[in-house]
Amino acid sequence: MTHLDVASHTGVHGWGDLADDPTAAALLDQALAEVSGDAEFADARLIECEELRLYHSMGADPDERREHNAGIGVRVLVDGAWGFAARPLADVGDPARAARQAVGVARAGVGLGEPVRLPGRAGVSGRYETRVAVDPFEVPGAQRHALLSGLLDSMTGPAAVRDAQAGVNAKRQHRHYADTEGSRQHQHLMETGAMMMAVAADDHDVQRRTFPNSFHGNTGGAGWEFVLGLDMPGNAQRVGEEAVALLTAPVAPAGTADLVIGAQQVSLQIHESCGHALELDRILGDERNFAGTSFIGVADVGRLRYGSPAVNITSDPTVAGTRGTFAFDDEGTPARRTPLIAEGIVVGTLSSRDSAARAGLPVTGAARSDGWAYLPVCFSTHVHLEPGGGGCLDDLLDRLGDGYYLDDNRSWSIDNRRLNFQFGTEVAYEVRGGRRGRLYKNFSYGGVTPRFWQAVEAVAGPGEVRNFGYPCGKGEPKQWGFLSHGAAPILVRGQRIGVA
């Protein structure tokens, strides 16, 4: 492993150059020193990232790519105005350059609006490393290829499967953080994931099935053991066959029905109607021009009935192994468990230091950014629905009686206040007398966020909880957020179905 030689004035070339704390500290200190006479507050994030992606696609050659980058983002508060600049680390002068740029853009905004006053806090320092049993970057390439080749073969058995794709991904990062309050942090994060998708088509229809998550697969904060635990080979044939079966399945009916919603679709419901709705910067209007606002207001915290008493939703980045797991958020706030919805009542938000100060609410440590190049904004962490007393999935189906069991998101849309939603799933099954029956295609349901969650009668127990890693987008320019939602199946009554 080579380390960046600060004295050599060369940049970062390959993985591990920023593994070293003294090297990172020197670069971060350079940035903070550059603004010491100008900024009342500054923080700097120095990040090295390497990502590995391998895909096998039907009718195409395998595609493998490994991407490395390193850079610094510097945020400053100058006379009550924010400034931010980010640069790749081409040479050791870049931290100071970024810092000067940040001061320059901050000065341009001084005097426009109320000055930002960030409550001070004591510096927090520490190190964190993702627990990894098998380093995905050390897994032999032949093993990765063999896995995906086998998945593709299994999915594409039926002739009606016209397209299929299987992939694995891994990312490792050294995330260094420093601020003018004395914080010094180093997080060595690792994530690993896998995906597969089959598309079946005939003269009249196109249908797809995915596993284990319909949003680019599932990724966890773990090593290769996460992929092995997904049992991809055990599901590949089913994915292909179900895609084909959907072609001739009847279209799901319209009307009103009781539903048991599977864990994957519940995780999407959490993401869209709870996670985003509780981002405090959104609540305060910062995202009004693009991502939108929220039906929840600051004054609703502690008061608003969002769901039924069975609904308890928590932000907890300390849960090990998820894509939303970390020890510090991207402005140095230590990770903590924060109830967001308690027995159906809104009790917390996903906040940053700036948004919390403006709203007079606690800082929950949800300021997150896509690498070094983007400003931290409020994103979900690991936001999950607490398991309930509903037992296992079969127990929920028994309790449902007659209705539908559905899972795996196919289509998702919600308005700019996170209130009016319409979601579709890849599969739905008729349930009669608690027994799963006929397969339906093109199932959709729609409603209004609090009405939906208030109709939740039961949440399955801890044995049914699954965590799903998601990519998400926010901000202008758009940046990616990487996060997680945990969910168990839920029983919800009286939903409008067949809306699309």
């Binding site: 050659d61 490395h68 081409a90 905004g109 290829h145 209130l419």
Partner: protein, 488 residues
């Protein structure tokens, strides 16, 4: 003034990329090789709540090498030229491992010079965009606009102040983002292709809010002067004021006039309906099943057009292939899909120059500069031709529901109005819609003469440009219900 220079010196980039591709092949590390560099210097002034809350200067660089051994490829990327040799070694090593593992020859090839036939290395002619008589942009040009280069932080903050003043004059507020960027693309291949381009970009988007009324305006392009942001500010502020007191429309089918932003949202879905090389090669979607058939009104022509003088034209793709104009809908007739080298080979056609690599996904073709042809009507005349209908400014959170039926769902947002006897009537609250897109486009009987451009998410250098349209049978669903929360 903030520094606004290319992320990487173009001449040095071309030189070092060339050395790497030659070195990889000459050293027998791989049979063939290509490499691209994307650079972007983006400077953005984002504001809301009366303050600039996210001023950002962001410089990003990626250099990606693809090495090919016995027809099998692997890629490795780094964040600057210094890491390029190591990336090349990684790519070559990985490609060799894949080739050894598979045993049989693969099909991956790099572009041949005939696919870069417009290539004119060293002969880039600076062209000014805009002006009273804008000329079509040559396929490969230095797309640098001086006014955009001068659209610095101070200029942008001044625009923000003007927006605040316009909102305040109507008792409202405004949020938005204005920015400029300098984008570069450099490509070298072991087959001798050498290409470099540099392009400015300006963008402005504003959401005005007056009471319960809102209005949105957005545009982007290579030249800030073409966007008319200052003029648009006052109009949008007035529109927000006019949309106060919104009512819910009855669900049903309506004659609609879609503003340029709403039309662009629909047009952006065309690739997902089958105008992509992957879908066409799989025999799925419109191109595969309805090629040459009428799928839209004869007033509807949409192309992915790197030669357009609107949107974000750029001359070639990351494989070095010259972008060809691809007609998706030509006067309503189904045209061709966009392709890259891989899908073009599968379809036995020439690549149209639409290779793309998105985050979190396998490489896939992307339409990057979709442009719908303008018509001859003003937006006012389109509205004047409607006895009873709705005007919709903006769609939001649109998603594909049914690929075969080309159905999408989404919600309406911002300044929407009922149309009564040829004039805008009461402002309308946001509503859900679920609509087959081609079915709607087949009913278009009027197309506006002014176009607007919106960015396309997750597509590098992606934009869609469209005019207003008038169409029939648009299905508006139930209006969003009021919040049903009760205090504990």
């Amino acid at each position: 003034m903030t520094e606004f220079a290319p992320a990487v010196d173009p001449a040095r980039a071309l030189e070092e990329l060339s050395a790497v591709v030659d070195g990889v092949v000459d050293g027998n590390a791989a049979d063939a090789c290509d490499v691209f560099l994307t650079g972007r210097v983006g400077q953005y002034t984002r504001f809301a709540g009366g303050r600039i809350h996210q001023p950002q200067d962001i410089t990003e660089v990626q250099v990606m090498v693809r090495a090919i051994v016995n027809g099998h490829a692997a890629r490795a990327a780094c964040g600057g030229l210094a890491g390029l040799p190591a990336a090349a070694r990684t790519a070559a090593r990985s490609a060799a491992a894949i080739a050894a593992s598979v045993g049989t020859p693969g099909r991956v090839r790099v572009a041949t010079p005939d696919l870069a036939s417009d290539l004119a290395p060293g002969k880039y002619s600076p062209r000014q965009l805009g002006g009273e008589h804008p000329q079509p942009v040559p396929a490969e040009a230095l797309l640098v606009d001086d006014a955009t280069a001068a659209f610095d932080t101070a200029e942008r903050v001044d625009l923000v102040r003007a927006a605040h003043a316009a909102a305040a004059a109507r008792g409202g507020s405004v949020a938005g983002m204005v920015g400029r960027a300098l984008t570069q693309l450099v490509v070298a291949t072991s087959t001798g292709i050498r290409r470099a381009t540099l392009a400015t970009e300006a963008q402005g988007g504003f959401t005005f809010e007056v009471g319960d009324g809102t209005a949105h305006v957005i545009d982007l392009g290579r030249a800030v002067g073409r966007l008319g942001l200052r003029d648009a500010i006052d109009g949008a502020a007035a529109q927000a004021a006019a949309s106060v007191g919104r009512v819910e429309a009855e669900p049903g089918e309506y004659t609609v006039v879609l503003g340029p932003e709403a039309t662009a949202e629909l047009v952006s879905f065309l690739p997902a309906f089958g105008f992509s090389g992957e879908l066409a090669a799989a025999g799925v979607g419109v191109c595969a099943r309805r090629g040459g058939e009428r799928a839209a009104s004869a007033l509807v022509s949409v192309a992915d057009d790197a030669l357009a003088d609107v949107g974000l034209p750029i001359g070639f793709d990351i494989e070095g292939v010259t972008k060809r104009r691809v007609a998706l809908l030509d006067k309503g007739i189904v045209g061709s899909p966009v392709t890259d080298l891989s899908t073009a080979a599968a379809l036995d056609v020439r690549s149209s120059g639409h290779a793309h690599i998105a985050r979190e996904e396998a490489p896939a073709t992307r339409a990057a500069n979709l442009v719908m042809a303008a018509g001859g009507d003003t937006e006012a005349s389109l509205i004047a031709g409607v006895r009873r209908g709705v005007y919709l400014q903006r769609f939001w959170y649109t998603r594909l529901v049914d690929r075969a039926a080309t159905t999408i769902t989404g919600v309406t947002r911002d300044a929407c109005f009922e149309i009564v006897d040829g004039a805008l009537g009461r402002p309308l609250a946001g509503m859900r819609f679920t609509q087959p897109v081609l079915e709607l486009l087949s009913t278009v009987d009027g197309v506006g003469d002014r176009r607007g451009t919106v960015p396309v998410m997750n597509v590098w250098n992606g934009a869609t440009t469209a005019p207003a349209i008038r169409a029939h049978g648009f299905r508006l669903g139930a209006a969003p219900a009021s919040r049903n929360g009760t205090s504990a």
